[in-house]
């Protein structure tokens, strides 16, 4: 079972499912019936046909290859990936400095930085310096925080 369900296979299978889903959706979309090369779906359907064919071939190749998966620190990667996603989602609302500092401190802590000077200098100082540089010096305002409106 582990031979079938591994990370490599899961990625290939997800690509196949996504391609098949997009192909199916392309037939459900309604457009003015212009036909042939005029149709908005003419080119995407060709691309999606190749996508599905290549994903199937990749799936078979990965199943045959049986390569061992590369080591993965799942918890650390998941938390940092979630933090990056949160940074992207929250930055427009909470401002660059607050979200950047939150991301920096969390990431540094997870990557083993325990020295408070390092945490403060890079985790807080770097986002602060960037916010000041772009907003004040270069006059390119980054999203500001409702709590720290001057940053």
């Amino acid at each position: 079972m582990t031979r079938v369900i591994n990370e490599r296979f899961a990625v290939s299978f997800a690509l196949l499912l996504l391609g098949a889903g997009l192909s199916a959706s392309s037939f459900g979309l309604r457009f003015a019936d212009l036909g042939g090369a005029f149709s908005p779906m003419f080119f995407p359907r060709i691309v999606l046909f190749f996508w599905v064919a290549l994903a199937t071939a990749n799936l078979v190749a990965d199943f045959m290859a049986q390569q061992p998966p590369a080591p993965l620190r799942l918890v650390r990667v998941t938390i940092i990936a979630a933090a990056a996603l949160a940074l992207a989602l929250l930055m427009p609302h909470l401002g660059f400095f607050l979200t950047g500092a939150g991301f920096g401190l969390l990431t540094l802590w997870l990557l083993g930085v325990r020295d408070w000077r390092g945490l403060l200098l890079v985790g807080v100082g770097l986002p602060l310096a960037m916010a000041v540089l772009f907003s004040r010096v270069l006059r390119m305002p980054l999203p500001s925080s409702p709590f720290l409106w001057w940053l």
């Binding site: 990370e7 990625v11 908005p40 691309v47 071939a57 940092i80 990936a81 997870l110």
Partner: protein, 499 residues
């Protein structure tokens, strides 16, 4: 082109222009020296700083960072045996053994001179070849354009790292991403699924920064490097004496030619050029027995070839709008942001700007010599910086870069998701260059195919029967696709013969 030189110099010799050349080259060297950043991420990181700059200095800054980062990779390759950029991987082979012998300064001296000569020859190639190629491409209609892009894409897929299947898959994903949004002919929205932010399509830079920079950060978090690198003793760059070049000029000339030739081919990149040049030098050098033990010929080969690629890769990028590799794909996207559309009309529509780019590229490669000597010494202690600090800085700069391009928070989400997908794909060996280049070229590929079919009344065979240039280009594309299969078949045969 020479008659435009005074006007071009007028664009370069401004406070911003000179600062862009000098600071950009220095910054490029430092970013290139830091392992894990690489030229693509370096150019993406510098993007937000260019948005408030005038057109010519902004482009010069990007070029300076690009050329500087390719050279900068050699510093960490020689001093800590870790290539700052993939292009410098071959430099480790002889650079680090020299450094271990206490000749780090000499090794960096050979690398600096070889890089400068490689870069300067590639600037000559750019100057000579790009206008000719653009002039030839002016004869192209939609059918030839379709065939040309098809050839470019197959080149990229067939010579990029990893398996052909995975390269093709990544290319297909990239081309599909280019179709999301308004249809180029009818304007109707495709694959937006009710999200109005997608009507203009995915922002290329958000995707590029996600799949290259953010995914790189996640990959490093997933498989961290072992501790801090050991830095060898280094007291500054020592340039080789003229007499030391005796018997080595042949290696230099051959490597420069290899780098320039490979640079022009879409998709090959500087890393391939460096290894091919190194292998050729190892085969033909009279000192071949010393290769891998700290032989300067090895350094000359890899460093001159990888810097010779920079100008070559810019030839199809500027002349045809077909990026040579991932770095030039990012460059292409950033040029568009600055109101420059690379392609066959660029030379005729912006002759002064093009002259400024060519002249600036010469100057950057000349600046590599003094600035390389200066910055290499200053950059050495930076190599001791903890990786965690660098990773945080990369993510924050990427977020700023993506936010400033369109000021659209949705692009930040696109970057984050692209980073996660890029991480998952890269872990399984999917190359990202075909994805990005597919996304860059997908729009033109679609419009040229559809226009071609409208011209020929839907007869696809007429593409090849009535158009000899298109037929030749498509045959070349088929040959490029068959190349990896032939290589695999040959490797299988030789393996069977050994058994």
């Amino acid at each position: 082109m020479l008659e435009l030189l005074p006007q071009a110099l007028g664009l370069i010799l401004t406070a911003q222009g000179v600062a862009a050349l000098v600071l950009g080259t220095m910054l490029g060297i430092v970013l290139g020296a830091l392992p894990g950043i690489g030229s693509t991420v370096a150019v993406a990181m510098i993007l937000p700083f260019t948005l408030t700059m005038a057109q010519a200095p902004a482009i010069l800054l990007l070029l300076a960072v690009y050329a500087g980062s390719v050279y900068g990779g050699s510093i960490s390759a020689i001093l800590i045996n870790t290539p700052g950029t993939p292009q410098s991987a071959a430099t480790c082979l002889d650079g680090y053994p020299m450094a271990l012998r206490g000749e780090a300064g000499q090794a960096l001296g050979w690398a600096t001179v070889a890089s400068v000569i490689g870069g300067l020859t590639s600037a000559v190639l750019l100057l000579l070849a790009a206008p000719q190629l653009a002039a030839f491409a002016l004869n192209f209609g939609p059918i030839e354009t379709f065939a040309l892009i098809l050839l470019g894409l197959t080149c990229i897929v067939s010579v990029s790292e990893g398996s052909l299947l995975k390269g093709l898959m990544a290319g297909a994903v990239g081309i599909f991403l280019s179709t999301v949004g308004g249809d180029p002919i009818t304007g109707e929205a495709r694959f937006t699924f009710g999200q109005h932010q997608l009507i203009a399509g995915f922002d290329l830079l958000a995707v590029v920064i996600g799949v290259f920079a953010l995914s790189e950060v996640l990959l490093r978090v997933a498989a961290p490097q072992d501790g801090a690198a050991r830095l060898v003793a280094f007291n500054g760059v020592v340039l080789p004496r003229l007499a030391a070049w005796r018997g080595r000029v042949g290696v230099l000339v051959k490597s420069v030619l290899i780098g320039n030739g490979i640079g022009v081919l879409p998709g090959t990149g500087a890393a391939t050029a460096a290894f091919i040049a190194y292998a050729e030098a190892q085969r033909s050098s009279p000192r071949r027995a010393d290769f891998g033990k700290g032989e300067p010929d090895g350094l000359i080969a890899s460093e001159s070839a990888n810097n010779a690629v920079t100008g070559g890769a810019l030839v199809p990028t500027l002349a045809l709008g077909i990026p040579g590799d991932a770095v030039t794909a990012v460059m292409l996207a950033t040029l568009t942001l600055h109101g420059v559309t690379p392609g066959i009309r660029l030379m005729t529509e912006n002759p002064v700007l093009i002259a400024a780019i060519f002249t600036g590229f010469f100057v950057i490669n000349i600046l590599l010599l003094p600035l390389g000597m200066l910055v290499a010494r200053a950059a050495a202690p930076i190599l001791r910086v903890r990786e965690a600090f660098m990773l945080v800085a990369i993510v924050l700069l990427c977020v700023i870069g993506v936010y400033f391009v369109r000021g659209n928070p949705f692009d930040l989400l696109v970057m984050a998701v692209a980073g996660l997908i890029g991480f998952a794909l890269r872990r399984q060996g999917y190359p990202m260059a075909p994805l990005v280049i597919g996304m860059v070229l997908g729009g033109t590929l679609e419009i040229s195919l559809r226009q071609g079919l409208i011209i020929t009344n839907g007869d696809f065979a007429a593409f090849f029967v009535q158009r000899p240039i298109a037929a030749g280009l498509v045959m070349a594309a088929v040959a490029m696709l068959c190349l990896p299969l032939w290589r695999a078949w040959r490797a299988g045969r030789s393996k069977a013969a050994r058994i």
